[in-house]
């Protein structure tokens, strides 16, 4: 297990370094902003009691807001990426620094303040020469607290495409891959420890710079050091911010947060990198359909893979009763007119819903499609996740259309579903038609021959303006149009989901073996 992880680590070392840097940039920028806000504010409330109680109360309440909820609220306002992340991180870092600045200033022994006044300090001289230096250990301990929480919370940046170590964690969660989760979690924890140690060392150095150099220059060094750190982090931050170089030839590819989406997005990314001179920025695992669609409309991403059925039902909110025809054409037209978005050609498969059975069972009973199942249904039990049992387009609809009457309906979590059927506790499960687990569990999908589900053809959706500007994108993607069958997609999904390979590696292998890279 450990050996395996170390191997995994060495394989992903360069992306680990990159994510670590992104993480540090997020944290450092947020702490800088938070300090710039919280320290002056702390000084203010120490001087003027008017807003004190209110601010401290509000601050402590603010800490109880779940960071993810806050992020979700901010996305419609601030969009995706760095901005909302920095905002949220800064928000949570302010209170500990504010409170400690205030407490530090309040607890300065009266004798020093009296001495400063008796010696004729101006109010601001008293602050700079006496109060702040004496409150500094307290302020720094606030900073330490803030740093620890910020490093932790920064993992949420992954949900909205701002990068950082959280990317590994969300990918790991989406792919159910503990190595990936650890790859994100361990460095995050180590970073928190390292920062804490670093700051405490810095604190010792800062507070008690006892070396024999003349002290004026020692202070200069301290400020130089601080300034240097600040510039380093900010530079790093802007360097890594993709928004900054939007003007240059860049295309941002997004995806939702499950393996198939990662694979498709990665495939498009690799093809565009291979066949055009555009620079590709990957903003994968953005979340739900609504979120990714919004990101596309905002121009925070330029391109992502979507399913016709999802677009029809979820985005366009069109009605469906099984009789509507030509969904792809309708979706294409509506996207063009309503959103100025362009659907390219389908990848060649549809990731719809249906029921799956064990291969041997299907062969024994000569099952091919759902209609074949109906006569047997009263002796069979079906396992499905709760949504499938509840949703009108789930089991209810299936029963009506095909006249099923199952012996037994078992409600299980999606991951346990496969265990249930493998151990023959159920004969049938609900499944997506390209689910990678179908392969390892040795299941086959029964065809929805009455077409009660709309087509879930997968295809790239591209912003029309980007298409006009870079027509080479469509050309670069054309080699995979119509090429990926359901079986192929199951295969690719399985390599990622079941075998725990990285989408980038799986895609690269696929494109190479299918000779889809340009001949260079």
């Amino acid at each position: 297990m450990i050996i395996e992880f170390i191997y995994f680590l060495s394989e992903n070392f360069s992306s680990l370094i990159q994510k670590t840097f992104e993480h540090i940039s997020l944290v450092a920028a947020s702490l800088l902003f938070a300090s710039a806000i919280a320290i002056p504010l702390g000084i203010l409330i120490a001087r003027f009691p008017a807003m004190r109680a209110l601010l401290l109360k509000a601050g402590s309440v603010s800490q109880t807001i779940p960071s993810l909820a806050m992020l979700a609220l901010l996305v419609p306002v601030l969009g995706l990426g760095f901005m909302p992340t920095i905002f949220v991180l800064t928000f949570y870092a302010i209170y500990p620094i504010l409170r400690n600045t205030y407490t530090g200033l309040q607890n300065i022994p009266f004798e020093y303040l009296e001495a400063a006044e008796g010696l004729g300090f101006l109010s601001f001289q008293k602050l700079v020469y006496v109060e702040l230096p004496l409150a500094l250990p307290m302020i720094i301990s606030g900073l330490r607290l803030a740093t620890a929480t910020t490093i932790g919370i920064a993992t949420i940046a992954a949900f909205i495409g701002a990068g950082g170590l959280g990317d590994f964690i969300t990918q790991g969660l989406a792919l159910n891959d503990s190595n990936l989760i650890l790859l994100g979690a361990i460095p995050t924890a180590l970073m928190a420890l390292a920062f804490d140690y670093g700051i405490s060392q810095f604190e010792n150095y800062f507070y008690r710079c006892k070396q024999k150099t003349t002290n004026a220059s020692a202070w200069k060094y301290k400020y130089l050091f601080l300034g240097g750190m600040g510039i380093l982090f900010l530079g790093n931050y802007f360097f890594l911010t993709p928004q900054g170089n939007k003007a240059s030839k860049v295309i941002i590819i997004g995806s939702k947060n499950f393996p198939e989406q990662n694979i498709l997005a990665e495939m498009m990314a690799q093809l565009i990198e291979d066949r055009t001179s555009l620079k590709v920025i990957r903003r994968f695992n953005l979340g739900s359909t609504a979120l990714v669609h919004q990101a596309l409309l905002n121009g925070e991403i330029d391109l992502y893979p979507e399913y016709v059925g999802t677009a029809y039902l979820t985005v366009l909110k069109e009605p469906w009763d099984g009789t509507q025809k030509d969904l792809f054409i309708k979706v294409k037209e509506n996207y063009k007119n309503q959103f100025n978005l362009r659907w390219l050609a389908s990848f060649g498969f549809s990731n719809s819903q249906s029921l799956a059975v064990r291969k041997d069972f299907a062969e024994a009973n000569n099952l091919k499609c759902l209609s074949d199942l109906a006569p047997l249904s009263k002796n069979l039990s079906v396992a499905a996740p709760p949504e499938f049992l509840k949703r009108p387009d789930g089991l209810i609809n299936l029963k009506k259309a095909y006249g099923f009457n199952f012996k037994n309906v078992i409600q299980v979590s999606p991951t346990l579903m496969y265990v249930t059927i493998e151990h023959q506790k159920a004969d049938i499960i609900a499944s997506f038609t390209t689910d990678g687990k179908l392969r390892s569990a040795n299941l086959i999908i029964l065809k929805d021959d009455k077409n009660i589900y709309p087509s879930y053809q997968a295809a790239p959706v591209l912003r029309e303006v980007v298409h006009q500007k870079y027509p080479q994108i469509e050309k670069a993607l054309s080699p995979i149009f119509g090429v990926i069958s359901e079986q192929k997609m199951i295969d690719l999904n399985s390599q990622v989901e079941e075998q725990g390979q990285l989408p980038s590696a799986v895609v690269h292998k696929f494109l190479r073996e299918s000779h889809l890279f340009s001949e260079k």
């Binding site: 004798e111 001495a115 400063a116 004729g120 101006l122 004496l134």
Partner: protein, 250 residues
């Protein structure tokens, strides 16, 4: 010369709003140039308040304060604190995050004196208070003994070469031997630099040792102000008599 008035307080009262009895009660007092005036009184008699009125940390409720014949209000109060008065605090109040050098030179730095000037002045003062600059210049207050700390406190008060030193029970917390040494330093200071010194104490033998004149304070009033001989020879009130006798160990 001896009787030239440096500071004159006339009918000073100080009433803190949160207290019903006055802390200083219609008090008048002159401080002569070059003298050492010791103010003695029990705790709470208003000694510190009196000192704070002098350098503007408190303002009197009524009465007037004149410095060199001009009202205190006609001076820039920060200027007074920085360069007319030097203040030595009972709790010393050396800034713990500053070295000896930084502590002593802080007032000079506030008034933007050159680093070279500061350094020279600090060495001069350290030599005067008999702390070798080589050893002490870059030490922090917590690396000094109590006596050394208060010496530095005195040096800090002297840094701007102020005319008048205000010393608020400066040696109260020191052991008898150190205290005696420091008292000698004060006498030397007075003789060498001709400073005017207002010195507060609650110890009558210290008052006898240091004071050209001694003011006995009680409940915000001055009971008697005179040389120690007069004080001893003809105490005006029973309180003064009792005080003088405890000082003599009777």
């Amino acid at each position: 010369m001896k009787n030239k008035k440096l500071i004159e307080l006339k009918n000073i009262s100080k009433i803190y709003p949160e207290r019903d009895i006055p802390t200083l009660d219609n008090l008048s007092l002159s401080i002569h140039e070059g003298e050492s005036l010791v103010i003695i009184g029990s705790s709470g008699s208003g000694k510190t308040t009196l000192l704070k009125l002098l350098n503007g940390l408190e303002t009197p409720t009524s009465g007037s304060i004149q410095i060199k014949g001009k009202s205190i209000n006609s001076y820039d109060i920060l200027d007074l604190r920085r360069s007319f008065f030097g203040y030595v605090f009972q709790k010393i109040g050396l800034f713990p995050h500053m070295t000896v050098k930084e502590n002593i030179s802080i007032v000079l730095r506030l008034t933007k004196k050159s680093p070279k000037f500061c350094e020279e002045r600090v060495c001069e003062l350290l030599n005067f208070i008999r702390l070798s600059p080589d050893v002490y210049l870059n030490r922090y207050p917590d690396e000094l003994s109590g006596g050394e700390q208060q010496r530095v406190g005195v040096a800090r008060a002297l840094a701007a070469d102020s005319e008048c030193l205000l010393m608020d029970e400066p040696f109260g917390a020191l052991d008898a031997v150190t205290r005696c040494e420091l008292q000698d330093e004060i006498i030397r200071l007075k003789e060498e630099f001709k400073k005017t010194i207002v010195f507060i104490t609650h110890d009558i033998s210290e008052a006898f040792k240091l004071g050209d004149r001694i003011a006995v304070m009680q409940k915000g009033k001055i009971e008697q102000i005179s040389s120690k001989e007069t004080l001893y020879g003809s105490p005006k009130t029973p309180f003064v008599e009792q005080l003088v006798q405890t000082g003599l160990g009777i």
